[in-house]
């Protein structure tokens, strides 16, 4: 039986490449980036703990203006290490759950953490009776710090984290529903994107070994996102509120964000991790 060249190509070429993995990365080559990532996360959670201390101090002192100012910057380090923070689902719920994660909304007893305080500071415009939530947040953050120190980072979670962060942006940041009272979503946005980019940077040598074009495409999309974010930078180094983000820029962000989520979802496979 004679086969056309195309048929041969189909059977041997396309099928082979689509099923067999990539030029596999040696697992032990991942030790350095995985451990460097833990060092990065450790530094960020240390910053988070220090910032949270200042943020909650301000609330307990009744200093509304300072508390409002510190809210978005404090969250930044949490958002950048979310793939690891999310490994502890109890803490993630008590630190970062949103009103709509609770059936009783803002009134739910277990609605605590950043967004509970955000509600008080920005929606009720008050620090009254927030001491208990402030204490709880600080305690939770310290617990997170000690759990991170104790846990061996699962490599697939580290690598998968790059995509997870962009999924987070795609699912909750583009709509501006994350920080619905303060509208400081762009800080979180930046935290997620930086956290994702950090992971890509750490694994760049291994990724480049298997697919240079992939790295170039991903970096280009990160650059696009950064460029749009930079438009909304304020003089004090912070970001404008999300309601100021133009409709066309929201749309312009969606493309690269979704493409990054799509592309980065291949990272684990490219690095040979399950």
């Amino acid at each position: 039986m004679k086969k056309s060249p195309l048929a041969l190509l189909l059977t041997f070429g396309v099928l082979q490449t689509s099923l067999s993995a990539f030029a596999a990365t040696a697992p032990l080559d991942l030790v350095t980036p995985v451990s460097d990532y833990k060092i990065y996360v450790t530094e960020n959670v240390d910053t988070l703990a220090a910032d949270t201390q200042k943020f909650t101090d301000a609330i307990k002192k009744g200093d509304l203006a300072t508390a409002k100012k510190l809210f978005p910057t404090t969250r930044l380090s949490y958002e950048s290490i979310e793939p690891i923070a999310e490994l502890f689902s109890d803490l993630d719920a008590s630190i970062d759950s949103r009103e709509d994660d609770h059936e009783d909304g803002v009134k739910a007893d277990d609605f605590t953490g950043f967004h509970r305080l955000e509600y008080a500071l920005f929606s009720q415009n008050s620090t009254r009776d927030q001491g208990v939530f402030a204490d709880k947040l600080l305690a939770d953050v310290k617990e997170l710090q000690s759990r991170i120190a104790g846990i061996t980072f699962p490599p697939e979670k580290v690598v998968g984290g790059a995509a997870a962060l962009m999924e987070e942006v795609a699912a909750t940041k583009l709509s501006g529903e994350e920080d619905r009272y303060s509208h400081t979503d762009l800080y979180d946005f930046k935290g997620n994107v930086d956290g994702s980019k950090k992971i890509v940077d750490l694994f760049k040598p291994q990724l480049e070994q298997s697919d240079k074009a992939f790295v170039a495409k991903v970096e280009k999309n990160f650059a696009t996102v950064d460029k749009i974010l930079a438009k909304y930078k304020t003089k004090d180094g912070g970001y404008e509120t999300y309601d100021k983000v133009k409709e066309q820029d929201r749309k312009a962000l969606a493309g690269p964000v979704n493409t990054l989520a799509e592309d980065l979802s291949q990272m684990r496979g490219k690095l040979g991790l399950n």
Binding site: A24, A26, P27, L28, T32, S35, K38, T152
Partner: protein, 403 residues
């Protein structure tokens, strides 16, 4: 000698051979790790039987070794080291800058056997005094070594523990840098009491990472070599590092002349951190590093030679145990899965050594080692040996032996 002028290892060290093999082997073998564990341990067992006969005799003379160029087949090799010089010396096998096997404190006139499990490739060997010329060791591949390289188990499971250990090395070397800075400030301010006080925590910080640091032969010699390894002992101009400072603070009871020594130590420790993070550790080395560290307590350091001026030996042993326990804890999940018995033995042995050291705790710290009885020293040695023996079970249990 191929070291650079400042005594640091050459900057561009090639990646250790063990790792190159890890790369080749693991690609094929991510598929059926379970089966491979089995075959790897089977192969290892057969190899042990086959290889028990090779013994190479090396004689260390005052200025050189004989033979100084050796060729052996891959796998388990025994080297009988005969010390024909007039002082206690050490003999090491190096892969690039990294120590593969070593034996310290070979007494003059006696011989010691070193068992090394070698992979094919070229190694260097050190020979007695640090100033003596180095030899070469050529290891030829065998059918077994080729098969073992192929039968290497999946390495994915080791990414986590190895990464955490690298993080541990990073944080602990930072702690060491801080502790040595304290020591340097005390010395600079001429405060002998303060400097003596700062010596112990700095040593402890070093001893926690000693198992890894000691793989970096030259750097570690600069940081940690005892006077015996220098031709003129304490008077030798090359004598530096911790023990030179210890000699000044506790024997000469003076900070005089220590400023350049501690400054050099700071430089060396900064490169130590850099090197520890740059040098990869193969999975099987995690266990073998701490085994070697425990054996050196059991076989050599229990005699009190290490901290002979300050008698702070117990401080160091306790820190060694801490560093060892870190490795045990990192491998715990893997061991618990496949080899509960091995793990139990290790935990029992590490608790026993810990208890033994705790007995030497006094109200104001740890008992100076010159006040520790011969019987107690023997107990420490025995328990360190028991722990080393238990730790020896790790690599076979994880399918990492005979690679």
């Amino acid at each position: 000698m191929n070291s650079t002028a400042n005594g640091l290892p050459p900057k561009k060290a090639k990646p250790p051979r063990a790792l190159q093999f890890a790369v080749a082997g693991s690609v094929i073998l991510m598929i059926a790790a379970g089966a491979m564990f089995y075959f790897a341990s089977q192969a290892a067992q057969q190899k042990r039987i086959a290889n028990s006969g090779n013994e190479t005799v090396v004689t260390i003379n005052a200025k050189n070794c004989e033979p100084n160029s050796i060729t052996v087949p891959a796998g388990k090799n025994a080297f009988r080291i005969v010390n024909a010089s007039d002082r206690a010396v050490e003999w090491e096998i190096l892969d690039g800058v990294l120590v593969v096997e070593e034996r310290e404190n070979i007494v003059p006139g006696l011989s010691q056997v070193i068992n090394a499990n070698l992979q094919p490739g070229d190694y260097t060997i050190t020979c007695g005094l640090l100033s003596n010329p180095r030899g070469t060791l050529h290891v030829t591949p065998t059918a077994e070594s080729d098969a073992a390289a192929k039968a290497r188990p999946s390495m994915v499971a080791f990414i986590g523990p190895l990464s955490e250990y690298r993080v541990y090395l990073s944080t602990q070397s930072s702690a060491l840098i801080r502790a040595v800075n304290d020591l340097q400030q005390a010395i600079d301010s001429g405060d002998l009491a303060q400097a003596q006080k700062a010596y112990a925590p700095a040593r402890a910080a070093y001893q926690r990472i000693a198992p890894a640091a000691q793989r970096l032969s030259e750097l570690d010699n600069a940081i940690n070599a005892r006077a015996d390894y220098y031709e003129k002992r304490e008077q030798d101009p090359g004598f530096g590092g911790f023990h030179r400072i210890e000699f000044g603070l506790f024997s000469q009871k003076s900070v005089e002349g220590l400023t350049p020594v501690v400054q050099k130590l700071q430089t060396d420790i900064a490169s130590l951190k850099q090197q520890l993070l740059a040098q990869s550790i193969a999975p099987e080395q995690l266990a073998s590093m701490v085994v070697r560290n425990m054996r050196s307590i059991a076989e050599v350091r229990n005699n009190g030679e290490e901290e002979r001026y300050s008698h702070l030996d117990v401080n160091g042993f306790a820190a060694n145990l801490e560093g060892t326990r870190k490795v045990i804890d990192l491998l715990r999940p893997l061991l618990a899965k496949s080899s509960g018995e091995v793990l139990k033995k290790i935990d029992t042995a590490s608790t026993a050594l810990d208890d033994q050291l705790l007995m030497l705790k006094t109200a104001d710290g740890l008992k100076p080692y010159d006040q520790v009885s011969t019987e107690q020293r023997k107990q420490i040695a025995d328990k360190a040996k028991a722990l080393a023996d238990a730790l020896d079970g790790i690599d076979p249990a994880l399918g990492l032996s005979g690679l």
